[in-house]
Assembly symmetry: C2
Homo-oligomer: 492 residues x 2
C-alpha cells in the first residue's frame, strides 16, 4: 500500500493460440464427451483421469513429428534448492500419461487394463487459423493384450461411437492398415538392416497422401520436381526395388481377399510381413462376424498416417461427406480419430514390453464437423426473464423465478439497472430468452412470448396474431403453468 | 538411431502433489459437476470455458495469502526472439480468468453477464497429506450487477446446489458477512486512514477462527502468549478502542433483528458501515421472501475467511456434520464453498469498476465429504465378462458381447491370455464383474452370477443355494434375457 507506482494496464487477451468457449460450445462438448464415455463404458473400459502436469522424464519424447527434446510441450522447472527441481510439462496427449500410470500402478490394475480418458492436451506449437494449442482428446486403450480381438474391438467401438454422437452410417469410414506389413515390404526389398534407406522410404510413404502413386514412385527413385519448382532428391531405388512399396500402397481391391493376396505378394517371403497380413485378416474376420462390413471398417493399405508411430495395426476414422473450404470449394472433412497398436508402451519404464492398442478421438474436430453439417450448434436457449418494474418488489420477483426454477424452468430476475425498461427487454433478447414476465399490477403479470413476438414482427399475418397473441395478462397464480405452455409450444 | 547411448529408465511417478483418479472417482466427479451445472443453468447462468493457460500479466497477483509476485502459480516464459516471450501460467482459480474474459469480450456479452465455469485449477504450493496441486473448482458469478438481489441469489443457488448433490438440509449452513461492516467498524474506531493499524486489525481478525474472542482481545491489545509459548505482539489498542471489533465479531444473536442492531452499534456513525448492515438486511429479506431461512442461510459476522479479499458481502458454506479426524476424534467437516462480492473485478484491465459477485465450490472437498458419509463411493460395477474357452471361437464370443452391449449391458470378451482359465475368473473378480459367461458347447452357455456366488461362498445355507443357483446353463439364444434377469436381481 505504501508504494503506489503506476503500472500500465494489463492486456485482456488469451495467450496466442488459446481461446475461450461460450455457452453451447461448452455444453455441446460436454454432451459429446458424455456420449462417448457411455459407449466406452459399455464396452468395458474404465475411466482414468491423470493430472495435466507430468514430469518431462515420464512424458519422454513421444510427440510425433518433432525432433528436438521437449520441443512441442509447455515445460518449466520446479523451484527447488539450487535449480535442481524436476522439469514438469503439460501433457501433449493421453497416451504418454497412460504409459506412466500403467507402469506406476501395474500391480494394482487388472490385466488387460482397459481404460478411457478424456480431457484437454496442450501442444507448444505455432498456432494457425483454427489450430489451437489446447484441445480435447478422448481416448480408449487396452493395455496388456496382444490379441487382434482387442484391435477389432477398438475399431468396432469407434464405429459405434461415431454413430452415437451423430455421424450416421455412410458418413464415415474407418480404415485399417498394419505397420508389420510395411516392415515386411522393407524386408522383402532387402532394406531391413538399412536403417537410413528404410527411414527415407518411410518419409516418402508419409507423402503418399499428398503426391499420390506417381509422386511416390519418383521420390523412391531419382527424385521429383515439387509444385514450387524445387527439386526433391529421391531415395535412389530402382523401379524394380520400389515395386513392393507401390504394390503395398495400392493393394486395396474391391474384394477383400484380393487385397490380402496383393499384400502377400508385396511382402514376399518376409515372415513379419506375412504375420501382418494374417493380423489384418483376423481383424477383418472378427469384424465381419459382428456385422461390421467394409461399408464401416475397411482394410486399406493406403492409410499411411501413424504408420511410423505404431508397431502393428493402425486405424483412422474419416468423415466422408463434403464440406466447403475457405474458398467455397467442396472437400472431404477428413480425419477425426486415429489409433493403433504400440507394443512398447511401458517398456521405457519397466524394461518389459507390454502390448497395447487404442484410439484417440479429436473431439473438437468432431464437434466442428457436426456444426458444419448443422447437426448441432443451436445457441443455448436463454432463461425466462422476470423484469423489474419496481425495485422495492424484488423479493416478489425472486419468488416468481423461484417457482419457475422449482418447475424445472430456466429463469432469472433482471439484475441490471432497472431504470431503463427497454434495456431489460434488450437483455432478454441478447440472452435468447423465450419469455419475459412483466408485472402489471399486484396479482397480474404479463407474459411475453419473445420467440413468437419475433416471428410476428418478421412475417406473420394479422390473422395468426389474433389467434395466438404474443403477449397476454394472467393472474399471478397461473404464471408457471402458462409459461410452461408457451415453452412447450416453442418446442421444448 | 545412430546413437544408442544407454539411458537410465524414467521413474513412473506423478510429479509431487499430483495424483491419478480411477474409475468411480472420475465418474462420480463428472456426475457431480453435471448436477451442479444443471442448477447453475436453471438459475440462468451460461457456461464458459477458458483455457488452462493465461498470461501472467492477465492473471495478476490475486492469489490470496501469497506475497511474492507469481508465487503460487506454475509459470514459464514463451520461447521467442531473444527471451522476450510472454510469461504464461496455469490458472490458479476461475475468477482471474473471468475478469480477463469479461474485459476482453465485454462488448459482446450481455450485462449483467452471468456465467458458470468448472474445471481444474493449479497451485504451486507445497503439497501435503490430502492437499494436491491440481483440484477442481466450480464457480458461478454475476458480473455487472451491484444489486443485493444478485448476492442473495448466489446464496440461494448455493443452498439448492448442495441439496442437489446430496447434502440434505440440516447438514450444511451458509454464513453471510460483509466487508463494508468491518470497514465501518475500522472507521468508527478512527482507523480508516491508518493503513498500518487497519491491516494489523485485519490480520488479527483472520485469527478469530483459531484463538476466539479472548485471543482476539489480547491480540488487539498488548499481545498474547501462543500455544507454543511464544509471545505475539499485540496491535496496541486500548480495550475501548478494541470494543467495536469484538462487538462486530460477536454480534450474531438468535434473533436476526438483534444481530443487525448489534452491527449498527458496532459501526456507529460510519456511513459505509451502516450501508453494509443495510446490505445484509436486504439479503436476509430477499432470502426470507423465497423461503430460505436461517436454518440454511444465516447472517453471521463471525465469518472472517475471505473478508480481506472481497469488497462487500462474503459467503461461506460449511458442512455441519461430524467426521472423524486422523486421530479418530469427531470434528466438523467444515468449508466446501466460499465467495463474495468483488467490485474491482475488471478495473485493472479497463479502468472501469464493474461490480461482480460469485461463488466457488470446492468439488473435490464436497466429494470427499459425501464419501466420508458413505453417500457415494460405491465402486463402479464391472462388465459382464465372456470367457474364452476356445481361441478359434473369438468371433462368436465377440458376437455375444455385441448383443449384450446392444441391450445396454456393459460387457467384454476376456482379451488376456486365455490359457489359464482361473486367470479369466480372477480378472472378472478384479473388475468387480456381476456375471461371467462360459461357453459349454455350441449353442449352450453357462452363466455365473458372481455377486451371488460370492455371497454363497461367504454365508448362504444349502437351502438358499438350491433355490437360486449361482450358475446355470442356458441355450445361447437366451443369453441376453437371462443376463438381464440376473443384473436386475442384483439391483441395477
Amino acid at each position: 500500500m505504501a508504494k503506489t507506482k503506476k503500472q500500465p494496464r494489463p492486456r485482456a487477451e488469451t495467450p496466442k493460440g488459446f481461446r475461450d468457449y461460450f455457452g453451447a460450445e461448452v455444453t455441446e462438448r460436454a454432451e459429446m464427451l458424455q456420449k462417448i464415455a457411455g459407449v466406452y463404458h459399455r464396452y468395458g473400459f474404465d475411466a482414468l483421469e491423470s493430472s495435466a502436469v507430468e514430469t518431462v522424464e515420464a512424458l519422454g519424447k513421444f510427440l510425433p513429428d518433432v525432433d528436438r527434446p521437449n520441443e512441442g510441450v509447455f515445460a518449466w522447472q520446479e523451484d527447488d534448492e539450487g535449480g535442481k527441481g524436476d522439469w514438469l510439462a503439460l501433457r501433449y496427449d493421453l497416451t504418454a500419461p497412460l504409459a506412466r500410470v500403467y507402469a506406476q500402478h501395474r500391480n494394482d490394475l487388472p490385466t488387460p487394463y482397459r481404460r478411457y480418458a478424456m480431457g484437454p492436451v496442450w501442444r507448444n506449437e505455432k498456432p494457425g487459423p483454427g489450430r489451437f494449442r489446447q484441445f480435447y482428446q478422448c481416448d480408449a486403450d487396452t493395455v496388456g493384450s496382444g490379441s487382434m480381438a482387442a484391435d477389432a474391438e477398438i475399431c468396432a467401438m469407434l464405429a459405434d461411437t461415431l454413430e452415437e454422437v451423430g455421424i450416421p452410417r455412410g458418413d464415415y469410414i474407418i480404415r485399417v492398415n498394419n505397420r508389420k506389413v510395411l516392415n515386411g515390404v522393407l524386408e522383402s526389398m532387402g532394406l531391413a538392416d538399412d536403417e537410413e534407406r528404410s527411414a527415407a522410404v518411410m518419409r516418402t510413404i508419409d507423402k503418399f497422401d499428398k503426391v499420390g502413386e506417381a509422386g511416390v514412385r519418383e521420390l523412391l527413385g531419382k527424385g521429383r520436381l515439387d509444385a514450387s519448382g524445387a527439386f526433391i532428391d529421391g531415395v535412389g531405388l530402382s523401379d524394380d526395388q520400389a515395386g513392393p512399396v507401390l504394390t503395398f500402397l495400392t493393394s486395396k481391391a474391391e474384394d477383400m481377399d484380393e487385397t490380402f493376396a496383393n499384400l502377400r505378394k508385396a511382402v514376399g517371403d518376409s515372415a513379419m510381413g506375412q504375420e501382418g497380413v494374417t493380423e489384418l485378416e483376423q481383424i477383418a474376420d472378427l469384424l465381419a462376424a459382428q456385422g461390421y462390413g467394409p461399408d464401416r471398417i475397411v482394410i486399406d493399405p493406403s492409410v499411411v498416417r501413424g504408420l511410423g508411430y505404431y508397431t502393428g495395426p493402425v486405424y483412422e476414422a474419416e468423415l466422408t461427406f463434403d464440406i466447403l473450404d475457405e474458398k467455397g470449394r467442396p472437400r472431404q472433412f477428413g480425419s477425426v480419430a486415429g489409433g493403433g497398436r504400440y507394443d512398447d508402451l511401458v517398456k521405457r519404464f519397466t524394461g518389459q514390453a507390454v502390448p497395447a492398442t487404442g484410439i484417440s478421438i479429436g473431439v473438437d474436430r468432431l464437434l466442428a464437423a457436426l456444426r458444419e453439417k448443422g447437426r448441432i450448434g443451436g445457441t443455448d436457449r436463454g432463461p425466462v426473464v422476470v423484469t423489474v418494474m419496481d425495485r422495492d418488489r424484488l423479493a416478489d420477483y425472486q419468488a416468481m423465478v423461484g417457482e419457475l426454477r422449482q418447475a424445472g424452468i430456466r429463469a432469472e430476475v433482471y439484475l441490471g439497472n432497472p431504470k431503463n425498461f427497454g434495456n431489460q427487454l434488450k437483455y432478454a433478447d441478447k440472452r435468447n430468452s423465450p419469455v419475459a414476465i412483466i408485472e402489471k399490477a399486484r396479482g397480474i403479470v404479463q407474459i411475453k412470448d419473445l420467440i413468437l413476438g419475433a416471428q410476428i414482427a418478421e412475417s406473420a399475418t394479422l390473422e395468426e396474431w389474433k389467434e395466438r397473441p404474443s403477449q397476454f395478462e394472467v393472474p399471478r397464480g397461473e404464471l408457471v403453468a402458462r409459461v410452461r405452455d408457451i415453452l412447450d409450444g416453442q418446442g421444448g
